[in-house]
Each structure stands twice: as structure tokens, then as C-alpha cells.
């Protein structure tokens, strides 16, 4: 048995050791075939693992990823955090990065145009660095249950309590464009956490099934426990989401 631990020999093979230990190992390798074999085994393993995944580097990058990092002028991601000079939306004591991701879509320009302009139909507006639900969206978040008939412009997905004990609800907007998002209740209004372009809901498809990934992630990051069941949802609404 040689006097070097397996971890030391591994670190040597990975080029991690300082000169002194390296010299000691090289001396040992010269007259102890066991040490030499152990180092060789580590090197071979490293080369094989690396080779097993090298093919990925030669694959073309899918367009949906490439467009994410295209220059700002054409970027599909609307970075509200950066627009506000890195200030963050405050959701009670919990600080969440405010990121609103809009998936690449021809609808994006139209969508931003409709929603960000303060038209009478605007469904949110910026208030003190936060995006607050307005109009039909605010109304639906306040009063509509997930079980409501699906012919309205806003459908509610799941409702839950976040880690601050505030209520949050996912929603699906179907106006000129289709979008989905998450809003949480604080200081008496609904604060948008994320809004993303979403596939249009057709027929009776449940909103939860159509939630874009950024919304699902925002839910996962915020949720405390399980979503509210229909009875708890109705009770929370009747109590004014307090």
C-alpha cells in the first residue's frame, strides 16, 4: 500500500496539488508501479468522462436559447430589473428579483405595446418600483375562483400562501395576446412577480397545464406548502385575501 491517499492521487491527476506534493508523488510513481497505475486510472477516467460529453459542444445551439442572448434590441427577455437600475420589487420582507420573462414570440412587441402603455385597458401599472395589477386582472385576482367558467379574459390557476404568509395566485390572460403570470397580495394590492407569453388556452384545458416554465419556477420559489383547495380558496377570497 502506498502512502498517498486515493484523494491525493486524484488531486494529482487533476493538476490540483502544490509543487512539493507533486514532486513527492512523481518520485513515488517512478519506483512504485501501484502509484503510477492509480494515477493513470484517474487520468483515464477523467478523459473518458470528458469525452462522453464533448459531443454536446459540436451540436448547434437551439434557436430558442440563442435568441435569449441576442443583442438587446431583439432580445425576447424584457428585463424589468435592469430597467429600474437593479432596484428590486419588494414583496413584504421577502426580496425577490423582479424578472419578467417574455418568451420569444411575434406577439411580444404587440403585448408590451398594449400592456405597458397606460391605455384604459392596461392590466398593470408600475407603482413605486413594483408592478401592480389593474383593471380586469385586478378584479379577477380579487374575486374570481379557479372554478369560474373559462370564457372570461382572465382565468385563475392556483392560489397559495407564500413564505411570508401572503396570498399568491397564478393567472392566464387572454386578450389580444395570451400570457400567464403570478401575482402576490401585499399592501392591499396584487403585485406581479412574473409575466410570460403563454400558449393560448383552447377549450377546457386547465390553466395549470399551460403555465410557462418561468411562472412554474416563480411558484416553486414562493410557495409555502401546498396550493389552496377550492374551499380554502373561496374562504381566502371572502376574507379579502388578508
Amino acid at each position: 500500500m502506498n502512502r498517498f491517499s486515493e484523494e491525493t492521487l486524484m488531486a494529482y491527476a487533476d493538476g490540483e496539488l502544490d509543487l512539493v506534493v507533486r514532486a513527492e508523488i512523481e518520485a513515488a510513481m517512478a519506483h512504485d508501479p501501484e502509484v503510477a497505475r492509480a494515477v493513470e486510472r484517474h487520468r483515464l477516467m477523467a478523459a473518458q468522462v470528458r469525452a462522453a460529453y464533448d459531443g454536446v459542444l459540436d451540436e448547434p445551439v437551439p434557436e430558442r436559447l440563442a435568441t435569449l442572448v441576442a443583442s438587446a434590441a431583439t432580445a425576447p427577455v424584457i428585463d424589468l430589473a435592469a430597467r429600474r437600475d437593479g432596484r428590486r420589487i419588494s414583496v413584504g420582507p421577502l426580496q425577490m428579483p423582479a424578472w419578467v420573462a417574455l418568451a420569444a414570440s411575434v406577439a411580444v412587441g404587440l403585448f408590451v405595446g398594449i400592456l405597458l402603455m397606460r391605455s384604459p385597458a392596461a392590466v398593470y401599472e408600475a407603482v413605486e418600483g413594483a408592478l401592480v395589477a389593474r383593471g380586469a386582472l385586478d378584479q379577477a385576482l380579487d374575486s374570481q375562483l379557479a372554478s369560474a367558467p373559462g370564457d372570461s379574459a382572465v382565468r385563475i390557476g392556483i392560489s397559495f400562501k407564500d413564505r411570508n404568509g401572503d396570498y399568491c395566485r397564478t393567472f392566464h390572460l387572454q386578450r389580444d395576446v395570451s400570457a400567464a403570470g403570478l401575482a402576490c397580495r401585499s399592501d392591499g394590492s396584487w403585485h406581479l412577480q412574473v409575466l410570460a407569453a403563454a400558449p393560448a388556452i383552447v377549450g377546457e384545458l386547465q390553466p395549470a397545464a399551460a403555465m410557462p416554465i418561468p411562472v412554474l419556477h416563480a411558484v416553486d420559489a414562493a410557495i409555502d406548502g401546498e396550493p389552496l383547495d377550492p374551499a380554502a380558496e373561496a374562504a381566502a377570497r371572502d376574507a379579502g385575501w388578508r
Binding site: 486515493e6 484523494e7 486524484m10 488531486a11 487533476d14 490540483e16 486510472r41 484517474h42 477516467m45 477523467a46 473518458q48 468522462v49 470528458r50 469525452a51 462522453a52 460529453y53 464533448d54 459531443g55 454536446v56 459542444l57 459540436d58 451540436e59 445551439v61 437551439p62 430558442r64 436559447l65 440563442a66 435569449l68 442572448v69 441576442a70 443583442s71 438587446a72 432580445a75 427577455v77 428585463d79 430589473a81 435592469a82 437600475d85 437593479g86 428579483p97 423582479a98 424578472w99 420573462a101 416554465i213 418561468p214 412554474l216 419556477h217 416553486d220 420559489a221
Partner: protein, 168 residues
């Protein structure tokens, strides 16, 4: 650097890193579709938080850390949704190579897929991405000692799995 300039800098650098981010995602998710979803989520997060990146520090380690955290969140969420994950799907394209090299690549991928998450991440960063132990430990948010022990245990397990399929 102004926020806007930094955001543009981060965006440009992430663009160059995309092939490596996809490779790292492929190792840790073991699945092509999950891997690209993970890259997308991580890139969106990184762009939204571009102001938090320290200029001069390694952007790749920073991205790997965001990806690792996003993946850990995703796994937790899946467990909550009780969605079953199929781990054994062949992860990476093995490309144009000799049949022997392809066989080795496929058995290495299969063996990697069976490692515990934490060992696979350590191996992905050090052996596949070539990060120094220090940078890998930082990306994973763990002490160096923990990293080396995960690496050693992961390698040992790989050796056992690959050795039992016949020596190469």
C-alpha cells in the same frame, strides 16, 4: 460599469458560453429536453440578475451555480408534483466516432446517470468542465473538502460501474 453596459457584457459572454452550459446541463439532468429547459431558465435568471455578477470574476462558475440552484429547485418541485423522472435516457449526442469510442461514451453516460446528484455535479464541473477544485466548490457553494470527497466517491462509484462492464 453602468448597469446597462454590464447587462450587455453578461449577455454577450453568456452567448459564448451556451455550448458549455448545454453540456453541463446535459450531465446533470441526464436528458436533452430537461437540459435545454434548464439552460433557458438559468440564462433568463442570469440576465435578470446581471447586475449581481462581479466583473472580473468567472462568469462560467456564476452560471453553473445558477444552473445548479435552478436544477435543485426543479427536482424539489417535481417531487412535490410527484412527477416521475425517467433518468436513463441517453444524455448526450455521441457524434461521429468509432463504434468502440461510442460504446465507451454511452457506458460512461449510463454510469454517470446512476450517481447521486451531488457527486454527478462535482464530476461535471471538474472532469467535464475542467474547473479548478476551488472554482467548482464555489459554484456548488460547498467547502473544498466536501468537493474533493464527493469527487473521490463519485469516481470510485464510476470505476465500479464501468469496471463491471468489462475493462476498456
Amino acid at each position: 460599469m453602468s448597469t446597462t453596459t454590464q447587462a450587455e457584457e453578461v449577455r454577450a459572454q453568456i452567448g459564448e458560453l451556451l455550448p458549455r452550459l448545454r453540456r453541463f446541463a446535459r450531465v446533470i439532468t441526464r436528458n436533452v429536453a430537461d437540459a435545454d429547459d434548464l439552460v433557458q431558465v438559468a440564462v433568463e435568471k442570469a440576465l435578470a440578475r446581471a447586475a449581481q455578477w462581479r466583473p472580473g470574476s468567472r462568469l462560467d462558475s456564476w452560471m453553473f451555480r445558477i444552473m445548479k440552484n435552478a436544477w435543485v429547485d426543479e427536482i424539489r418541485a417535481r417531487r412535490r408534483r410527484e412527477r416521475v423522472h425517467a433518468p436513463e435516457e441517453a444524455g448526450a449526442a455521441v457524434g461521429d466516432r468509432s463504434a468502440a469510442a461510442r460504446d465507451i461514451a454511452l457506458s460512461v453516460q449510463a454510469a454517470m446517470a446512476r450517481l447521486p446528484e451531488e457527486q454527478r455535479m462535482a464530476i461535471a464541473l471538474v472532469l467535464v468542465e475542467g474547473l479548478a477544485y476551488k472554482d467548482a466548490a464555489e459554484a456548488l457553494g460547498i467547502p473544498m473538502g466536501t468537493l474533493t470527497s464527493r469527487l473521490a466517491r463519485g469516481r470510485e462509484a464510476l470505476q465500479a460501474l464501468l469496471g463491471s462492464n468489462g475493462e476498456t
